[in-house]
Symmetry: C2
Subunit: 286 residues, 2 copies
Amino acid sequence: MALDIPGKDVSSALSEKIRQKVKLLEEKGITPTLRTIRAGDNPGDLSYERGAAKRCAALGIAVQNLAFPADVSREELYAAVCEANEDPSVHGVLMFRPLPARLNQDEIGNALLPQKDVDGMTDLSMSGVFTGKEVGYPPCTAQACMEILDYCGIDLSGKRTVVIGRSNVIGRPVSMLLLRRHATVTVCHTRTRDLAAEARRADILVAAAGRPRMIGADFVRPGQVVLDVGINVDENGRLCGDVDYEAVKETVSRITPVPGGVGAVTTTVLAAHVADAALRQNRGRW
Amino acid sequence: MALDIPGKDVSSALSEKIRQKVKLLEEKGITPTLRTIRAGDNPGDLSYERGAAKRCAALGIAVQNLAFPADVSREELYAAVCEANEDPSVHGVLMFRPLPARLNQDEIGNALLPQKDVDGMTDLSMSGVFTGKEVGYPPCTAQACMEILDYCGIDLSGKRTVVIGRSNVIGRPVSMLLLRRHATVTVCHTRTRDLAAEARRADILVAAAGRPRMIGADFVRPGQVVLDVGINVDENGRLCGDVDYEAVKETVSRITPVPGGVGAVTTTVLAAHVADAALRQNRGRW
């Protein structure tokens, strides 16, 4: 019978570390500040915006929400990014994606300075995730997986990790973060032959396929730690992960539930990145 | 008994494609041009410089070798990179690395425009390799592995590929190139438990560990294709790969020898990148 890994516990532990950084900054008269940039009123964006604002507020991090109408021009959005770059009181920037389709998201996003790119949106941040150089920050969800594993006290060195999914927002970056921590990493996807057998080999299984409950009983074995990154809505309108929780819970050792698992850690990681960015940007003042 | 994959045959096939591009460019009065930038007289650099010059010459690609003394200043090297960026007659730039230790290689290297970065040196090129976006070029050796697999007519989709080594110049980028072609990719390294067993699971095994003859008989099984990226000098001063060729040749299906395997394809890939860069940089003229 699996033990749930409660995201809120991971989040609480991480929050303690963030508070220490915020305190250090406060002593120097600096309020770590996140600016969000949104185009349109996508309900998912609005929900994340509210969640992030609440979490940041609880940690002493200021949030400035910048909202543009869905028909915002390329020039306006680009200017908003450049303005945030130049404003020393803004330490981190989160631009909600996807942008409306007519806008060149790559061009606008890449205008952001990597040191303020707290959700790993820019090409330079991606290069940092890939090469291990300190450039930018990884996407928050990928980093949330690492925080969870650290919270559980798992030494990743030499562990077999299997990541299902190869997206640029989660599959690829989490694979690189695991590799940096000396895990053996296998990246699987829709074309993988005998996916269930590959998954069963894992000590740590990261499900990031974006398909509701696709990871069933045949994908798991006793002793595994399972991170379920999926956030899907099933045919009954219920939130569910990529893992069929009911089918695997008797078998695996530990598992993150959905909701209340990885998703509950993501905004705390965002806050951690903002606090870290504020510290780095003010290094010279200590 | 394994069939050798002769690098020169792969190189010849690729050369045909390059000649077509060069011909197209010639018709427009454009000579595809590579500029190399070297600091000091490292014998390995000199040898590669000669090899690249010879190969490019045979393909109608001009090469300009820029050589600085080992005590060149940061400013001089930086200026050389910027000058190459601004010169429209230079389509590709290869800077030999490592630079002398006192120089900030990252800073100087990243000054290069990714569209002229024909050996995947810059952070932006790395991001392109990682995310699959068309930014820059992958490191030539990583791309050489792909050219070899294509030459062999291997459909990578769903194939189990195991990469031994996780360096930024070969292990990581070749893993990402394999993933982009829909292979299932496992990245192994010194910390991997039971490395030989992981290697045996591979349909395609890429040895890029940088340790002479470390891949022995217990790492292979019948049917495998083995790419040996290693270029080492053994205790008798003989060139050898990461694979113990004599120990595995009876077992595996196909293997690249050392010398005469992957290394024989690398400079041709460099030439291919220069021709491609010249075409892209002159797109508007067609």
